[in-house]
C-alpha cells in the first residue's frame, strides 16, 4: 500500500482513469511543496548554521528564532523592482532562472523517498529508468546558468558562464562513470538496476562501503553541481561579482538562490540514495523516510561545513583535478566494481 493507492482510493468515485491521474497530480504537488519547503528550510538552516560556525547569532528577529526570516526575505525580493540590463537577450534572460528552478524541483519528483508509517511508500515516480531520468533533469540546470551568463550582456556574467561550463564538463564525466559503477553493482541482485527503488532495496551493504572511491567522486561532483565553495567558480563572488547571476535582482535572483540551496539538499539526497542506502535502516517499512532524512541532513551539514571552511579553487586547477584525478579515479572505480561483480557472479 503506498500513498498513491491511498489517494486513488479516496478519489475512486471519479472512475479509474481520472482517479489515477488525480492521484498522480496530487502526489506531484505534494512533492513540489516538499521541495519548496525544503529549500526554504535549507536557507534558514544554512543561515543559522553559518552563524554558529562564525561565532554569530544569525537571524533572530522575525518570528521565534528567526524562522520567518526566509519568508520576510522572499517577500522583500518579490517587492523589488525588476531591473533589466540594456542589450540583453530578452527571452533567455527571463527564462534562465525558471529553468534552473524548474530543473531543481522536477528532480524532487523522482527521488525515492522510501516509506513512512501509515502513508506507505512516498515515492512519486516509479520509473524503471529513474536514475537516467534524474540525471537528465539535473543536466537541465546548467543550461539555465549558461543562458543567464550569456544573455545578460555583462562581461562578468559571461566569464562566470564560461567558468561554469568548464567546471560542468570536467566533473560530469567522472560523475556519470561513478553512477555506471552503481548500476553495475546493483545489477547483481536486481533485473532492473536503473530503477532507483531497486537500487535502494539491494543495498544490504551500502554501496558507499563497497565503492568508497565512487562515493568520493560523487560527493565532490555534487558540491560542484550545486556550485558552492570550494567549487563555486560560476559565481566566484570575490572575482566576478556574482558571476552568471550578476545582472539578476529581485525574484529572479531569489530563484537562483533557491536553486543553489535546493541543489545542496538534492545532492545530499542523491548521495544518500545511491551510496548510503537511502531509506534502509531499522524498521524500514515504517521509518524509512526518517532514515532517509537523517542521512540527508547529516550530508547537508557536512556539505555546509565544507562550504564555510574552504577557499575557492582556481578554475584551471579544478579542470585539471577533474580530468587528471577524478577521471582516472572513476575508471579505477569502474574496474574494481567490475571485479566485484564478476566475482559475485562466479
Amino acid at each position: 500500500m503506498n500513498i498513491l493507492n491511498r489517494i486513488q482510493g479516496i478519489l475512486s468515485p471519479l472512475g479509474h482513469d481520472i482517479s489515477f491521474a488525480g492521484a498522480y497530480l496530487i502526489e506531484t504537488i505534494i512533492a513540489l511543496v516538499f521541495a519548496v519547503t525544503v529549500v526554504a528550510g535549507m536557507v534558514y538552516f544554512f543561515r543559522k548554521y553559518m552563524a554558529r560556525v562564525q561565532n554569530r547569532i544569525g537571524p533572530n528577529r522575525v518570528g521565534k528564532f528567526g524562522v520567518l526570516q526566509v519568508m520576510a526575505d522572499g517577500l522583500k525580493l518579490m517587492q523589488k523592482e525588476s531591473i533589466f540590463p540594456d542589450g540583453r537577450d530578452d527571452l533567455p534572460y527571463k527564462i534562465a532562472p525558471i529553468i534552473v528552478f524548474l530543473g531543481l524541483i522536477l528532480a524532487f519528483i523522482i527521488v525515492p523517498y522510501s516509506n513512512l508509517y501509515w502513508f506507505g511508500s512516498l515515492t512519486v515516480t516509479h520509473s524503471n529508468v529513474g536514475i537516467i531520468l534524474i540525471f537528465a533533469i539535473l543536466a537541465i540546470m546548467p543550461i539555465g546558468e549558461i543562458f543567464a551568463g550569456i544573455s545578460s550582456n555583462n562581461k562578468y556574467a559571461m566569464l562566470g558562464a564560461l567558468r561554469a561550463v568548464a567546471k560542468d564538463i570536467s566533473f560530469e564525466v567522472p560523475m556519470m562513470l561513478s553512477i555506471l559503477a552503481i548500476i553495475m553493482i546493483a545489477s547483481m541482485n536486481t533485473s532492473q538496476p536503473l530503477n532507483l527503488q531497486n537500487i535502494v532495496s539491494v543495498q544490504n551493504i551500502p554501496f558507499g562501503i563497497l565503492e568508497p572511491i565512487g562515493l568520493f567522486i560523487f560527493f565532490i561532483s555534487m558540491i560542484a553541481r550545486a556550485s558552492y565553495s570550494p567549487f563555486d567558480m560560476g559565481e566566484s563572488d570575490s572575482e566576478l561579482v556574482t558571476g552568471d547571476t550578476t545582472e539578476y535582482g529581485g525574484l529572479r535572483f531569489g530563484l537562483f538562490y533557491m536553486g543553489l540551496f535546493g541543489t545542496i539538499f538534492l545532492g545530499s539526497m542523491l548521495v544518500s540514495v545511491l551510496y548510503l542506502g537511502g531509506g534502509s535502516g531499522p524498521y524500514e517499512s515504517s521509518l524509512g523516510f526518517i532514515w532517509f532524512l537523517i542521512k540527508t541532513i547529516v550530508l547537508v551539514v557536512i556539505s555546509l561545513t565544507v562550504w564555510l571552511s574552504m577557499p575557492r579553487v582556481r578554475i584551471d586547477k579544478f579542470v585539471n583535478f577533474g580530468w587528471k584525478i577524478l577521471l582516472p579515479l572513476s575508471f579505477i572505480n569502474l574496474i574494481i566494481t567490475g571485479i566485484i561483480v564478476l566475482g559475485g557472479i562466479a
Binding site: 553559518m50 560556525v53 562564525q54 561565532n55 554569530r56 562581461k155 562578468y156 566569464l159 564560461l162 567558468r163 565553495s229 570550494p230 563555486d232 566566484s236 563572488d237 570575490s238 572575482e239 566576478l240 561579482v241 564555510l308 571552511s309 574552504m310 577557499p311 575557492r312 579553487v313 582556481r314 578554475i315 584551471d316 586547477k317
Partner: protein
C-alpha cells in the same frame, strides 16, 4: 605589453570601483585574453578628500584628525607618523611615558590592521569564516582603544606633546589580558588558512615580486619584507621607543602571496612581544609635555621643515611638513606606503588569471583612505 593578437581581440573589463574585492574604491582596467589578464591598470582617486590641503588650513594640532582618516584601520600608527614630523618641526619633545604609550598603541593598532587584512584576504579567496573570527579578535583591541580615547576607529588619541589621557589601571589590565590570550587564538585562526591545501595552492608561487622590482618601485612594509629585503623603519631608523625593545623583523624569501601572508602573521606576534616589553618598561611620570597644553596648543608656531618617517602596518609612512612661522603649516605632504605598493600591481598583474589578480591585489593590503588621501 607584448601582444600576439591585435588589441581589439582582447576583452576589456572594468573591475571596480564598486566590486567586492577591490577593498574600497580601487578601479582596475583589465585587458583579458579569456581568463588571463594581459594588462592591468589601477585607476585611483575615488576617495580623494584633499587631506593634505586641508591640513594647510588648520592648526598643527587639528591636522591630526585628517591623519586618523587616512589609514582608518590603523589610525594610531597614522597619528604617530604625523606627530613624528610635527613635533620635530615644533620642537616639542613628549615625555618618556607618552612615548612608551604611543609605542604600545601603535603596535596594537598594527595588530588590528593586520587582522582586518587577514580576514579580507580570506574573503578575496572565497573563505567566509575567518573574517568573523578576526573581527572577533579585533573587537578586544577596539575596546582597548575605546577605553583609552573614547572612540573605536578614528581614535584621535595622541596629540602634540603627548597623549590625550594617561593609561589607567583598567587599560593596562585589558592590554595584559589581550596579550595573554591573543597568540593562541591567533594561531587557531591562522591554522584555518595555512593548514588548508587550497589556500596554499592559491597563494604559493602566486604574485612573485622580485627584490629589485620591489625596490625600484619604492615598495615597503610587509610587501618588501615578503620579497626578502630586511628593511623596517623601526630598526633602520628607530623612532619612539623601538630601539629600547627587542624584536625581530620577519622576512620571507619566497616572494609570493604566501610569503607576505606569513610575514604579516609573524609581525603580529612580534608586536605582541613589543607590547609585552613596553608594559614592563613603561616608567611613571607625566604623559604630556606642558609646553603643548590645551590652552597653548593652537598657538604653536613652526618654522622650517621636518620629515618624520614611521613604519605603519602597510609600510614606510612619511610625513613632510613645511612651516612658515605661523600657527598653520605651509605645506603638508604624505608619503603613503600603499600608494607605492599599489603601483607595483602593474608588474605583478601581467599574465595571471583573474582569480590570481584578486589574490595579488589582496596581498598588497590596500586601504584607500591612505592611497587617495
Amino acid at each position: 605589453m607584448e601582444t600576439t593578437k591585435p588589441l581589439n581581440k582582447y576583452v576589456e573589463l572594468n573591475m571596480g570601483p564598486q566590486h567586492p574585492s577591490t577593498h574600497g574604491v580601487l578601479r582596475l582596467r583589465l585587458l583579458l585574453d579569456g581568463e588571463t589578464v594581459k594588462k592591468v591598470e589601477p585607476v585611483i582617486g575615488y576617495l580623494h578628500r584633499n587631506a593634505e590641503k586641508i591640513c594647510e588650513l588648520d592648526y598643527y594640532c587639528d591636522s591630526l584628525l585628517y591623519f586618523d582618516r587616512m589609514d582608518y584601520v590603523n589610525s594610531l600608527s597614522m597619528e604617530a607618523g604625523y606627530l613624528e614630523a610635527a613635533e620635530k618641526l615644533l620642537g616639542i619633545e613628549p615625555p618618556e611615558r607618552a612615548k612608551w604609550i604611543r609605542t604600545i598603541m601603535a603596535e596594537l593598532s598594527r595588530i588590528a590592521s593586520h587582522l582586518v587584512w587577514a580576514g579580507a584576504y580570506g574573503l578575496d579567496l572565497g573563505m567566509l569564516t575567518p573574517f568573523f573570527y578576526v573581527f572577533d579578535l579585533r573587537e578586544q583591541l577596539l575596546n582597548i582603544f575605546t577605553e583609552a580615547s573614547g572612540s573605536r576607529l578614528l581614535t584621535n588619541y595622541m596629540s602634540i606633546g603627548g597623549v590625550y589621557q594617561d593609561f589607567n589601571d583598567k587599560i593596562v589590565y585589558m592590554i595584559k589580558d589581550f596579550i595573554k590570550t591573543f597568540p593562541k587564538k591567533l594561531e587557531e585562526v591562522f591554522n584555518l588558512f595555512v593548514k588548508n591545501d587550497i589556500f596554499i595552492s592559491r597563494t604559493k608561487g602566486i604574485g612573485v615580486l622580485e627584490k629589485d622590482i620591489a625596490i625600484s618601485y619604492g615598495v615597503t612594509g610587509p610587501m618588501l619584507r615578503g620579497s626578502g629585503v630586511e628593511y623596517d623603519v623601526r630598526k633602520a631608523e628607530p623612532y619612539l621607543m623601538y630601539d629600547k625593545v627587542n624584536f625581530d623583523i620577519p622576512v620571507s624569501y619566497t616572494k609570493d602571496c604566501l610569503g607576505r601572508f606569513l610575514v604579516r602573521y609573524e609581525e603580529m606576534r612580534q608586536s605582541i612581544k613589543i607590547v609585552k616589553q613596553a608594559l614592563d618598561k613603561i616608567p611613571d611620570g607625566p604623559y604630556f609635555n606642558p609646553k603643548a597644553k590645551k590652552s597653548l596648543m593652537i598657538r604653536l608656531r613652526g618654522e622650517g621643515e621636518a620629515y618624520g618617517r614611521t613604519e605603519s602596518s602597510k609600510g614606510e609612512f612619511g610625513v613632510y611638513i613645511v612651516g612658515d612661522g605661523t600657527v598653520k603649516p605651509y605645506r603638508v605632504r604624505v608619503r603613503s606606503p600603499t600608494f607605492k605598493n599599489l603601483s607595483v600591481l602593474r608588474e605583478l598583474g601581467k599574465d595571471v588569471m583573474i582569480a590570481d589578480l584578486v589574490a595579488i591585489s589582496g596581498s598588497i593590503d590596500l586601504v584607500f583612505g591612505e592611497v587617495d588621501r
